[in-house]
């Protein structure tokens, strides 16, 4: 059995849970050291809740040209690429919109704060990813039109990819890195692949409602409107912002999981699918991205090679 020959480590990072699975159990400690190093660097670069992060400095620069590290430039580039590939559905300039609906601190702190929250001003379209100027060569960045960056949609998935690549290269074993349910694999997988339970909430138990699949390469990510929610002005809101309105996306999908060549691509597609609603089905199909989409009534659509899942409606 795979589980007997796989090492596991679970820990907290980025306000969520990380899991490392390593095909050589005695390599778990070495993998964790590498992961800690990589994740700390990403946190220093792009945490929205650290005043000393590069992202906070750029957001506070009032549109001035700001010098950035190579790592931060890579993260911004990944976010801009996601925006370009989704025609702006996944937009990194949602920082202000998130703050205006109360997501202005670490989510654990936000959840614990029971003070009633209200919008400071009406929602509006976000400034847009074209407001972000990045000079990769000279390592300079600039935000126009009052844009405030939030790299949450892509940075976590990008970090999973980076951790998996570096760990596999350094320890020579197969590895799965999951950061809050966004996962990347690298190196030789176990004989029967990595077994993943696809569900609404990454923190749910191993038997949570959903579907079990195996993956051997690339990345898998799930986006959902049911997790990371809080109350504003008497209604529940979530963190997936529709750039066109500046409001949490009112999607026909509750949860979308996508498999792709890399975790950052899987996350880009799953987030875009939530925002696109019904139009996500032909878009994912055309892109050839295996996906599982769950409607609010629990019915499931699987496309582009994702294994059939009867879902609770058919199974009942």
């Amino acid at each position: 059995m795979t589980t007997l020959t796989t090492g596991t480590d679970t820990f907290s990072v980025f306000g969520t849970t990380a899991t490392l699975l390593v095909s050589e159990p005695d390599m778990v400690e070495a993998a964790r050291i590498i992961a800690d190093e990589q994740l700390a660097a990403v946190d220093r670069a792009c945490s929205r809740f650290r005043p000393d992060s590069e992202l906070s400095r750029l957001n506070a620069a009032n549109g001035a040209v700001t010098g950035v590290s190579d790592l931060f430039a890579e993260l911004v580039e990944a976010a801009l690429r996601a925006a370009r590939l989704t025609d702006g559905a996944v937009d990194p300039t949602c920082g202000q919109a998130l703050e205006e609906i109360g997501y202005d601190r670490d989510f654990a702190v936000l959840q614990a704060d029971e003070q009633p929250r209200h919008r400071a001003r009406p929602a509006r379209r976000v400034p847009g990813w074209r407001s972000v100027q990045l000079d990769r060569k000279r390592l300079l960045a600039q935000l126009a039109n009052g844009a405030q960056l939030d790299l949450g949609a892509t940075a976590k998935a990008w970090a999973a990819d980076r951790c998996a690549e570096v760990i596999a290269a350094k320890i020579g074993a197969g590895v799965l890195v999951s950061l809050g349910g966004d996962m990347a694999v690298a190196g030789p997988p176990p004989a029967d692949g990595w077994r993943v339970r696809v569900t609404d909430d990454h923190a749910a138990g191993p038997e949570a409602p959903g579907q079990t699949v195996t993956i051997r390469t690339g990345g898998l990510a799930t986006s959902s409107t049911t997790v990371r929610t809080w109350a504003v002005g008497g209604r529940r809101v979530h963190h997936i912002i529709d750039p066109a309105t500046g409001e949490p996306a009112g999607s026909c999908w509750r949860t979308v999981s996508v498999a792709a060549g890399r975790c950052v691509d899987a996350n880009t597609a799953s987030t875009a699918a939530i925002i696109r609603g019904e139009a996500a089905l032909p878009w994912l199909n055309e892109a050839g991205l295996p996906a599982r989409l769950v409607r609010h009534d629990g019915s499931v659509e699987t496309i582009a090679g994702w294994p059939h899942d009867p879902g609770p409606t058919e199974a009942a």
Partner: protein
């Protein structure tokens, strides 16, 4: 002017117009081809810009080498939102 001379002059004029017209068409066609080539070259260049420093597949979302396979029972890890 004799009638033959008039006909000769008219034929020469028509022949000249045909030649000019042919040259104009060829120049126009060449211009269209050049424009298309330049557009393709610059279009490719523009799309390629963000690839600097990146990995493969910068211009498109990369599909997995293998789609997920069906499995039964519990997973080793959950993929869900956080």
């Amino acid at each position: 002017m004799r009638r033959n001379d008039v006909q000769f002059a008219a034929a020469a004029r028509d022949d000249g117009i045909r030649k000019i017209s042919k040259v104009t068409w060829r120049a126009g066609a060449a211009g269209v081809v050049c424009s298309a080539l330049i557009a393709v070259a610059f279009g490719h260049h523009a799309a390629a810009q963000p690839q600097k420093g990146g990995d493969q597949g910068q211009g498109t979302i990369v599909i997995p080498a293998q789609p997920p396979a069906p499995a039964h029972g519990a997973g080793q890890v959950n993929s869900g939102a956080s």
